[in-house]
Structures are given as structure tokens and as C-alpha cells.
């Protein structure tokens, strides 16, 4: 009997796992002793970090998408039929269309989603760039914006932890280029007592904010937005007026995780080194879906996926584990429209951002193209 590997989720994490397994298990796939299949929610694969550039007209919508079947190795059947229930005891996944898929090994890669609807008034009163529709609306709002009070509001949890700082610096550069910066005021809010969760990044951001005249409001945990009065209020009872509100909405995991009792908030309890679901020896979890205390980011998904590829193929070929995931994360940080820096860290090594440079910004722009090689498992 062929060993069945089922991957649920067609984002970056699931796709790297699928393509990596195809290379590692090519002999087993050829002789039919292994099969790999994937369930996804859409026909297309989106380069999510590209959404950051859409509001500024610096990336075309068409550049964000590829046909998922063309990104995936052709040996992986891809079915657009999202999972509705995952039964880890019966080793079975039920889908929206009512079909049932059994597996020997399961990889859960269902990801996260934005939830502006969980904060009163946010969906009506705020802009965001974390999905295409939001990025389009924000692009339109920026085109019409002729100066005023801009609030960049950050909520937890959210994916891509450096994106709030990036959008703030890019907004500042955009308003300067448009000639309305002198009529504008940017205020950045953050839930804890500094500008970023990463302490070195927070320290780095303080003089950058001072240099650019960006104001901040720390200890700001959003309670509600009043779209009519154009104000945003925190649990700490601070109210800020705005003319343009850009929010990083809170995220949750997917409904299928909650409905399957696999984790509160849609996050699956995951062992930090093996990336196995806690309590399972044949269910791996990858990318945003885990409850691990590390960044929900593409690079996290990538490094986790590489570990799962090595371990799953090693288990199938040699019945042994290959290696542990060490918590590695790497993030580019855009510090404006023409400069950038980066951070990397793992479970044991703290991050240490270097001085911004134009060259790192160009690396980031290059990666916007190289992403598709990452998704194919070639980079």
C-alpha cells in the first residue's frame, strides 16, 4: 500500500513541503510507494508580502498571483476543496464538497486570516493592506488623501511582525513625495510598552521615528473604532482622532482548526522542534497555523517547511528523524521607499538589525521575484 501524504493548505508553507517532498521522494513516487496530494481553497497562489507595495502603486496586482498548479510539482494533485473537518483519530479530512480524504501523514498548513470584524467599527472605519481588497481600498484612499491625521494602528496577533513599521516608513515617504507631509501627522500605536515586540527593533525604531517626526502611542490595545466620529479608542481609554486610519487587524487561525478541536483561536498546539502536532506522531503543522511563539512570516514557513521535508522523507525512506527545527526566522525590513535592513534570529540567538541601506532594499525587491523559486522549493 502506498503511503499517503496529505497536505491541507495551498499557501507558501504547504507548497514548499509538497515540492520539497517530490524531490526527496522521487524514487518512491515513481514506483508508487508514496503519494502526495494537496487540498486548497483557491486556484491561485498569492505572494502575500507584495500586498505591502500595492497601496503605493509599486506592485501590480497581476504580479501577486500565479496558478497554484503551475507553482506545484506536477506529481502533486491539487484539489480546490477546502477542509471542513480534520479527524486526527480516524486519519481523515472532510471537505466543503463532502468528500473524505484519508492519510498516513498529514501536514496542516491552513494559515491565518485577518479579523477586523472582531473589533467594533474597525471593518467600517479602517484601511488595511493584508488582503487584496483592503490593499485596493487603501490605494484609493491614499490617492485621495490630501493631508491630515494618519493613525497606523497595530493589533495582536498579526502576521509579518515588521510590516507595521514598514508601512509607517513607506507612508511617510509617500506623503513626502506627494507634497502633503507638512500638512500631515503620523501616529503609530502599539499594544505593548515599546514600538515593537522585538526589543532591538524597538530600540532601533525610536531614533528613526524622531528623525521623521512620527509620533507614537504605546500601550494601545484597540477597543473600538468610531467611523462616524473618526476616532479610535484603546482599552487603556486613549482616544485618537484620525483622517486616515491604517490598521494591522488582529488575526486568527482558520475556522477548520477550531471546528476540529485542534486548537483555540485556530492555532494548533505544536512541538517546537519536531513541528509535530502535540499528541500526534503523524501530523505535522507548518507556517502560521502553529501556536509556536515565533513570527508568523513567510520565512518562518519556509524554514519550518524545509525541516518537515527532511524529517518526513527521512521517516519514509529510513524510518528515522533527520533534524530539529531551531526556530530560525529571517525578515527584510523596508525602512522607506528606497532603503531597508533585515533581522534574523532563532530560539537561541537574538536579532540584531543593522543600519538600513539601499542595497538591502534592492535585495528585498529582488526577493519579490525570487519568491516563486522559494515556493517551488528551489531557493
Amino acid at each position: 500500500m502506498a503511503k499517503k501524504i496529505l497536505i491541507v493548505g495551498g499557501g507558501l508553507a504547504g507548497t514548499i513541503v509538497a515540492n520539497g517532498l517530490c524531490r526527496q521522494l522521487r524514487d518512491e513516487l515513481a514506483k508508487g510507494s508514496v503519494s502526495i496530494s494537496m487540498l486548497g481553497a483557491t486556484e491561485t497562489h498569492m505572494y502575500q508580502p507584495g500586498l505591502l507595495y500595492v497601496p503605493f502603486g509599486r506592485m501590480r496586482e497581476s504580479e501577486l498571483f500565479r496558478d497554484q498548479r503551475k507553482v506545484l510539482d506536477r506529481r502533486v494533485p491539487y484539489v480546490v476543496d477546502p477542509a471542513k473537518h480534520i479527524d486526527v483519530d480516524k486519519k481523515q479530512v472532510l471537505t466543503a464538497s463532502g468528500k473524505s480524504y484519508s492519510y498516513d501523514f498529514l501536514v496542516i498548513a491552513t494559515g491565518s486570516r485577518i479579523r477586523p470584524d472582531t473589533i467594533p467599527g474597525m471593518a467600517e472605519g479602517a484601511h488595511w493592506f493584508y488582503d487584496l481588497e483592503g490593499a485596493r481600498k487603501m490605494r484609493d484612499a491614499l490617492q485621495q488623501f490630501q493631508g491630515g491625521r494618519v493613525v497606523v494602528n497595530v493589533n495582536a496577533p498579526h502576521k509579518c511582525p515588521v510590516a507595521p513599521l514598514e508601512i509607517t516608513f513607506m507612508l511617510r515617504d509617500h506623503l513626502a513625495a506627494k507634497g502633503v507631509l507638512d500638512k500631515s501627522e503620523i501616529t503609530y500605536t502599539y499594544p505593548i510598552g515599546r514600538l515593537h515586540g522585538l526589543e532591538p527593533v524597538a530600540h532601533w525604531a525610536v531614533p528613526e521615528f524622531e528623525r521623521y517626526g512620527i509620533k507614537s502611542e504605546i500601550f494601545f490595545n484597540t477597543k473600538s473604532v468610531d467611523p462616524k466620529a473618526k476616532t479610535i479608542t484603546s482599552e487603556e481609554e486613549t482616544t485618537l482622532p484620525y483622517d486616515l486610519l491604517v490598521t494591522i487587524p488582529p488575526h486568527t487561525g482558520q475556522q477548520v482548526i477550531t471546528d476540529s478541536n485542534l486548537g483555540k483561536g485556530g492555532w494548533v498546539a505544536t512541538e517546537r522542534n519536531t513541528l509535530l502536532r502535540e499528541g500526534s506522531d503523524n501530523v505535522f503543522v507548518v507556517g502560521d497555523t502553529t501556536n509556536l511563539p515565533i513570527s508568523k512570516a513567510g520565512s518562518t514557513a519556509h524554514f519550518e517547511a524545509d525541516t518537515i521535508v527532511d524529517n518526513l522523507s527521512s521517516l519514509i525512506k529510513e524510518d528515522r528523524w533527520a533534524r530539529h527545527y531551531d526556530g530560525k526566522v529571517f525578515c527584510f525590513v523596508e525602512t522607506g521607499l528606497d532603503s531597508g535592513t533585515y533581522v534574523w534570529f532563532n530560539y537561541l540567538t537574538p536579532p540584531n538589525p543593522g543600519p538600513p541601506s539601499q542595497m538591502i532594499h534592492w535585495f528585498k525587491l529582488a526577493y519579490n521575484r525570487l519568491y516563486w523559486l522559494s515556493a517551488r522549493g528551489l531557493l
Binding site: 495582536a156 496577533p157 515586540g197 490595545n221 526556530g327 534570529f345 532563532n346
Partner: protein, 76 residues
């Protein structure tokens, strides 16, 4: 019935133990407790400071075995 949620944020640099606590409180019920494990000594001051500011309840702060264990009760 109130539950206790455990957040093992040892070695968590980004977004960090306090942001993990906030994320867990979001899907907790009033009265639930969240126990955060952190190897970052800053958590022993950051988390109580945030809890006071947001007006949840600090249950305990303990250190041992190379990490801090901080328990917070969701109050609202």
C-alpha cells in the same frame, strides 16, 4: 468554567512573550488564567506593567529552572 492556558514563550524573540500573552488572552474567557513561560528577564517587568495598564489581574511571578513563569487572569 475557568481554564488555565499555557504559553511556552521560552526563546521567543519576535513577537515576544508579552505579544504571545495578548494573543492568548484574545481567545480566552473572563476569569481564565494564562501562564506564560519566558526566558526573557524583561518579561518579569514588561508583563506586570502591561497587566496593570490594561487592568487585568497579575496572579504570580516566579523564577526557576532558567525561566520566569508569570500567571495572568483575564479580568475584562
Amino acid at each position: 468554567m475557568a481554564e488555565r492556558h499555557k504559553v511556552d514563550a521560552r526563546g521567543a524573540f519576535c513577537p515576544g512573550p508579552l505579544m504571545e500573552l495578548i494573543a492568548t488572552l484574545r481567545h480566552s474567557q473572563i476569569g481564565d488564567e494564562v501562564e506564560v513561560w519566558s526566558t526573557d528577564k524583561g518579561s518579569a517587568t514588561d508583563i506586570p506593567e502591561w497587566v496593570k495598564k490594561v487592568r487585568h489581574e497579575l496572579v504570580s511571578v516566579n523564577q526557576g529552572n532558567g525561566y520566569w513563569s508569570i500567571v495572568v487572569r483575564k479580568a475584562k
